[in-house]
C-alpha cells in the first residue's frame, strides 16, 4: 500500500484525540487513581511492619500458596487425559464435551462454589478438599484447551515414529509428547495457579470460616476489621507473588519452547481397536462426570427440601423468613433486580467505553498501544484489588461516591472493557484498508470514509462484547463485595449469604439462585460465541476432519 497515500487519507488528529479522551479518563479515574491510592496506603505508616510481623499473615500466605499448588497440580494431572483425547480423536460427543468444559469455566466463582457444595457430602463441605475440587473442575477447560491446542499441532506421525521404535503408549507420552508440549503445560499451569492463588468467591462459599486466602484476608481486613493499611499491604504482597510467578512462567516457556515447525493440525481420527476405543470412552465418560456432576447437583439440590422433592425454593424465592417475623436479611428477588439493573448499566458503560477505545486504538498508532495496554491492566489485577481501591478512594467529598448507584456497574465495566476491546479490535483491524481508500477515491473525506467503511463492521463484535460484559457483571463477586451496600446486594452476594446460613430452605434458595445465574451466564456466553464465530455453523471447534 502507498504509505504517503495512507498518511494523506488519515483521520484528522482532533478526531482521534476526541475518541481517546473518554476511555483514557475513565481508566485514569476509576483504575489508576484507586491503584495509586492503594499503593500509597500500603507504603505509608506502620502498616507494613505490623502486617508482615504478624504470624497470621504468613499463615494466610502459606495456605494460599499450598492450596494453589495442590489445585494446579491436580488440575493439570486430571486434565491431561481429556486434553489428549480431544486433541487426537474424533468422537460423537467431542463438541459437547469441549462445550461443557467451557460452560463450567465461564461460571461465576460463587456459582462454582455453590455447585461443589451441592455435590459433595456434608462431611467434605467446608474442607480444603472442596476448595481444590472446585478449582480443578473450574479450570479443566484451561488445560484441555491450551494443552490440546498445542498437542493437535504435534504430528501424529512423530508419536507413531516413537511407537515403531518400541515405545509404548505411556513411553510415547513421557518421552516425546510431554517434552514437546511442555510450554503449553507451563502456560496452562500458570493460569490455573493464578486463578487458584487469587481465589475469592470459591473460598467465601466453600471454605470454612477460618479458611482464608490472601484475597479473603484483604476483604476481611478492609471490610470487617477496618484495617485498611493491612489490607493494602496484603494487596501489594499478592501483586509481588503474582508478578514473580508470571516472570518465572514466561522464562520457563521460552526455555522449553521449540519450534515444532508445524502449522498444520494433525487430522482427528476415530479410535480404532478395542483398547483405544475403551481408552477414549473411559476418558470421555469420566470427564463428563467430573465436569457435569456439580451442575446437575446444583439443580437437584435446588429442588430438595426437608420434606422431600419440591419446587418450594423456586416458588417462594421471595420468602426468606426463618420464623414468622424473623428475616435473614437477604431478599433474592431484590438481588435479582439489582443484578439486572447493574448488568444493564455495566454493559452500556463497557460497550461505549470499549467501543470508543477500540476505534481510538486502531486509529492512533503508538498512543493507541498505550491505551490498549492500559485498558488491559484491570485484567491483571484481581477484582478484589479493583473493588478495594475504589472503596478507599471514593470515600470522601468531593468524590464520596460510595452511595452512588453507578459505582458498582462502573467497577464491573472496568473488568469487562478488556473483553469488549478484544472482541472488537480484531474485527476492526481486519477491515481492509483498501476499502477505506476506495471510499476516499469516491470522494469521501477521511471521517466520512471511516464511518461508511469501518463502523458497519463494529455492530456484531460489539454485540458479542455486550454479551460478555453482561455475563461478567451478573457473576462479579470480588469487586462487588467491597462496593455494594446494604439493600444493593447482587445475586452472587445473595447466593453467598444464603449458602452461609443453616436451614435447608435457605440453602435450597441459594442453589436455585445459583442455578439461575449459571443458566444465564452459560446462555450469554454461548450466544456471544455464536456471534463471534460468525454464524451458528462456524463453531470454534472443528468437527471431524
Amino acid at each position: 500500500m502507498d504509505r504517503a497515500g495512507a498518511r494523506v487519507n488519515r483521520l484528522p488528529r482532533w478526531f482521534v484525540a476526541a475518541l481517546t479522551v473518554g476511555p483514557a479518563t475513565g481508566l485514569a479515574v476509576f483504575f489508576l487513581w484507586p491503584f495509586v491510592t492503594l499503593l500509597a496506603e500500603a507504603l505509608s505508616g506502620e502498616a507494613i511492619s505490623a502486617t508482615l510481623g504478624r504470624d497470621a499473615t504468613w499463615d494466610v500466605v502459606w495456605f494460599t500458596t499450598w492450596q494453589a499448588v495442590v489445585s494446579t497440580v491436580s488440575t493439570v494431572l486430571i486434565a491431561m487425559a481429556p486434553a489428549y483425547v480431544v486433541a487426537r480423536f474424533d468422537f460423537r460427543t467431542r463438541r459437547l464435551l469441549v462445550g461443557l468444559l467451557t460452560a463450567v469455566f465461564v461460571l461465576p466463582t460463587v456459582v462454582m462454589g455453590a455447585a461443589i457444595l451441592a455435590l459433595l457430602p456434608e462431611s467434605l463441605d467446608r474442607t480444603v478438599f472442596a476448595i481444590v475440587a472446585a478449582h480443578v473442575v473450574f479450570n479443566l477447560a484451561v488445560v484441555v484447551r491450551l494443552v490440546g491446542a498445542m498437542w493437535e499441532h504435534l504430528p501424529t506421525d512423530m508419536e507413531a515414529a516413537a511407537a515403531t521404535l518400541g515405545a509404548s503408549r505411556w513411553q510415547v507420552f513421557t518421552q516425546i509428547s510431554l517434552p514437546l508440549i511442555r510450554p503449553s503445560v507451563i502456560a496452562a499451569a500458570t493460569v490455573v495457579f493464578l486463578f487458584s492463588f487469587t481465589s475469592f468467591g470459591v473460598i467465601r462459599v466453600v471454605g470454612a470460616t477460618g479458611t482464608r486466602t490472601v484475597e479473603v484476608e484483604i476483604w476481611r481486613r478492609a471490610t470487617q476489621l477496618g484495617d485498611i493499611g493491612g489490607a493494602a499491604v496484603l494487596t501489594v504482597l499478592q501483586l509481588l507473588v503474582l508478578g514473580a510467578g508470571l516472570a518465572w512462567s514466561t522464562t520457563a516457556q521460552r526455555r522449553h519452547s521449540r519450534a515444532l515447525g508445524l502449522t498444520l493440525r494433525s487430522p482427528l481420527r476415530r479410535p480404532t481397536g478395542r483398547g483405544e476405543r475403551r481408552l477414549v470412552t473411559g476418558v470421555v465418560a469420566a470427564t463428563f462426570a467430573v465436569a457435569g456432576a456439580p451442575l446437575v447437583a446444583l439443580v437437584v439440590r435446588s429442588f430438595s427440601t426437608p420434606t422431600g422433592w419440591s419446587a418450594t425454593a423456586w416458588t417462594d424465592l421471595g420468602r426468606t423468613e426463618i420464623r414468622p417475623g424473623i428475616r435473614v436479611g437477604v431478599d433474592p428477588w431484590n438481588a435479582i433486580a439489582n443484578s439486572l439493573v447493574n448488568a444493564v448499566w455495566a454493559t452500556l458503560f463497557a460497550v461505549v467505553v470499549g467501543g470508543l477505545a477500540t476505534l481510538a486504538i486502531a486509529a492512533a498508532g503508538r498512543a493507541g498501544r498505550v491505551l490498549d495496554a492500559g485498558l488491559m491492566l484491570p485484567l491483571g489485577t484481581s477484582a478484589v484489588t479493583i473493588g478495594f481501591g475504589m472503596l478507599i478512594t471514593f470515600d470522601a467529598p468531593p468524590v464520596d461516591w460510595r452511595a452512588s448507584w453507578w459505582l458498582v456497574p462502573v467497577g464491573h465495566a472496568l473488568i469487562a472493557v478488556p473483553f469488549v476491546v478484544r472482541a472488537t479490535l480484531g474485527v476492526l483491524r481486519s477491515v481492509a484498508p483498501d476499502l477505506t481508500t476506495a471510499a476516499a477515491t469516491l470522494g469521501a473525506p477521511p471521517v466520512r470514509a471511516w464511518r461508511e467503511t469501518v463502523v458497519p463492521y463494529l455492530w456484531r463484535p460489539l454485540a458479542a462484547g455486550a454479551g460478555l460484559a453482561a455475563a461478567i457483571s451478573l457473576g462479579e463477586f470480588g469487586a462487588t463485595s467491597f462496593l455494594s451496600r446494604s439493600g444493593g446486594e447482587t445475586m452472587p452476594i445473595a447466593i453467598e449469604r444464603l449458602l452461609g446460613r443453616t436451614g435447608s430452605l435457605l440453602q435450597a434458595q441459594g442453589f436455585a439462585l445459583a442455578t439461575m445465574l449459571a443458566v444465564t451466564t452459560i446462555v450469554a456466553v454461548a450466544v456471544t460465541d455464536r456471534l463471534q464465530a460468525g454464524g451458528p455453523s462456524a463453531g470454534r471447534d472443528r468437527g471431524s476432519s
Partner: protein, 214 residues
C-alpha cells in the same frame, strides 16, 4: 532376518476404499519396492504393516506369526517416515539411540551403538548436534540410522528419497541400497520413482498388481 506376509488387507477411511484386498509376500532379507502414483494407498500399506493403521480386514504376518492385533511398539517393525519425524528435543545421537533406550539398553552402550550407526550412514561425529540444523540428506540418514539401530525385523521406507535434489538423490539411493543390504534386513520401500525402485530394491511391484483382481 524375517519374512513378511500381507494377506488380503482392506482399508477404508470414512467409507472410501483406500486399499482393497492387497497381498504381498516377502522372503527373509528381501528388499521390495512398491510403485504407485501418489494417493494410491502405498503409504497406507506401510502403515498397516507397522500397525499405525488398522485394516478393516485381512492380516499381517511376520515370521509366520499373525501380528494384526499386536500394537506397533511390540511388532519390531521399523519405519522411515517421508518427513523423517526426528524428535526435535533430542540430539542426533539420542534420536538414533531412542529404540535402544526403549528396550532398556544402558546409556554408555546406547551411545556406542548410536555412534556406530552414525558412522555407517556417513555421519560420524554428528552425535551431539541438534536435529534442527541438519540438511535434508543428513536428516534422512539420521532417520535411517535411528530405524536400523533398533534392530527391527522389517524395515519400511516411505518415499525415502523424495524431495532431495537430483545429485543427492542418486548418491543416497546407492548408499541406501548398500546400508540395507549390509544390515541384511527385510525391507519394503514405497515410491513413485521407477529408477529409484530399481536402484534400491531386489524386486519391484506395482501396487495395483498387489490388489485383489476384482
Amino acid at each position: 532376518m524375517s519374512t513378511l506376509e500381507v494377506r488380503d488387507v482392506a482399508v477404508a477411511f470414512d467409507g472410501v476404499e483406500v486399499l482393497d484386498g492387497v497381498s504381498l509376500a516377502m522372503a527373509s532379507g528381501e528388499i521390495a519396492a512398491v510403485l504407485g502414483p501418489s494417493g494410491s494407498g502405498k503409504s497406507t500399506l506401510l502403515r498397516v504393516i507397522a500397525g499405525i493403521v488398522r485394516p478393516r480386514s485381512g492380516s499381517v504376518r511376520i515370521d509366520d506369526r499373525d501380528v494384526t492385533d499386536v500394537p506397533t511398539h511390540q511388532r519390531r517393525v521399523g519405519m522411515v517416515f517421508q518427513d523423517n519425524q526426528l524428535f526435535p528435543h533430542r540430539s542426533v545421537a539420542d534420536n538414533v539411540a531412542f529404540g535402544l533406550k526403549m528396550t532398556g539398553v544402558e546409556r554408555a552402550q546406547r551411545r556406542r551403538r548410536a555412534d556406530d550407526w552414525l558412522e555407517r550412514v556417513g555421519l560420524a561425529g554428528f552425535g551431539d548436534r541438534s536435529v534442527d540444523g541438519l540438511s535434508g540428506g543428513e536428516a534422512k540418514r539420521v532417520a535411517l540410522a535411528r530405524t536400523l539401530a533398533a534392530v527391527p525385523a522389517v524395515v519400511l521406507l516411505d518415499e525415502p528419497l523424495t524431495g532431495l535434489d537430483r545429485e543427492l538423490h542418486d548418491r543416497l539411493a546407492v548408499d541406501l541400497a548398500h546400508i540395507l543390504r549390509s544390515a541384511g534386513t527385510t525391507a519394503v520401500l514405497v515410491t513413485h520413482d521407477r529408477d529409484e525402485a530399481a536402484a534400491v530394491a531386489d524386486r519391484t511391484v506395482e501396487l495395483a498388481d498387489l490388489q485383489h483382481p476384482s
